[in-house]
C-alpha cells in the first residue's frame, strides 16, 4: 500500500481495494474478512449497509454494477466472482 499527504495508508491492489470497501462500509477489522462474511451475518451488513458497500466498490473500481449483480452479491467470496464480470480480478 502507499500513503497520501496525510500519511493515511491507501489501498493499491484490487484485493486491498476490495477489502477496504468492506472494512470502511461495515466498520470491521481485517480479520473479519473471509468466507463467513455474508449478507445479514453482520449487523452492519443490512440493506442500507449493502448499498453503502456497493457504492464503495463502484467508487473504488470506477464501475457501475448491474441490478442483478447487486442482488446476487450475497457474500464476501461471491462478490469476488462478480467483480470478475467487470474485469476486476481480486
Amino acid at each position: 500500500m502507499s500513503t497520501n499527504q496525510k500519511n493515511e495508508v491507501l489501498p493499491t491492489t484490487n484485493k486491498q481495494k476490495y477489502d477496504q470497501a468492506f472494512i470502511t462500509s461495515f466498520s470491521i477489522d481485517e480479520n473479519q474478512l473471509g468466507e463467513n462474511l455474508a449478507y445479514n451475518q453482520l449487523p452492519a451488513w443490512d440493506s442500507i449497509g449493502h448499498m453503502t458497500l456497493v457504492a464503495a466498490l463502484e467508487d473504488a473500481f470506477g464501475i457501475s454494477m448491474e441490478t442483478d449483480d447487486i442482488m446476487n452479491f450475497s457474500s464476501y467470496t461471491k462478490g469476488m466472482e462478480l467483480m470478475a464480470k467487470y474485469g476486476i480480478k481480486i
Binding site: 449478507y39 440493506s47 442500507i48 449493502h50 448499498m51 456497493v54 442483478d68 447487486i70 442482488m71
Partner: protein, 164 residues
Amino acid sequence: MSKPANLEALRLDLQGLHEYQRNRFPYLMIDVAEEVIPGVSAKGFKNLTANDWFFECHFAGDPNMPGMLQIEAMVQLCALTVLTLPGNKGKIAYVTSVNNLKFKRKVLPGERFDLETTLHSWKRGIGQCSGKGFVNGELACQAEFSIVLPDILNGFTPGTNKPE
C-alpha cells in the same frame, strides 16, 4: 442532482402533502411546500403557534421547537424531492443518518420556520441530502442527512426479487 426531464416544480398545500407523503398531524412538520423540484430541491415552511403540542413540554417557561423536530421538518421536506419522482408517491421514507448538525438559534412560538433542502444524490432508494432552517432570514439550523425509501432499497438486496 440535475432535474429529471418533464418534471415541473410543485407547490404542495396540506392536501398535496397528504397526497405525496405519510406524516400526519401532529407529526407533520411542514405547513406548505412552496417549491418542490422533483429530484433536486424543496423549499417550504411551518408556522409555529403557541398551540403546537411540543411547546407545552419543551420547555415549561421556555417554549422552543425541539432541535430534533427541526431536523424532522428538514427530512420531511427533502423527502418530497424523491416522493414526487414517478412511482414514489405515498411511499414511506426514513432518515438513516444525520451529520454536521448545527443549531444556531431558538425557534419560538409565533415565528415562521422556513426550510430549504437539497437532494445531492439519489440512487437505489438512498438519498444524500442537506438542509437549512431559517427564521426571518436568520440561520436557525443546518444538517446533512440521508433518507431511504425501503420499498426501493429492499429491491436491491440479496434474496429479493428484481425491482420492476
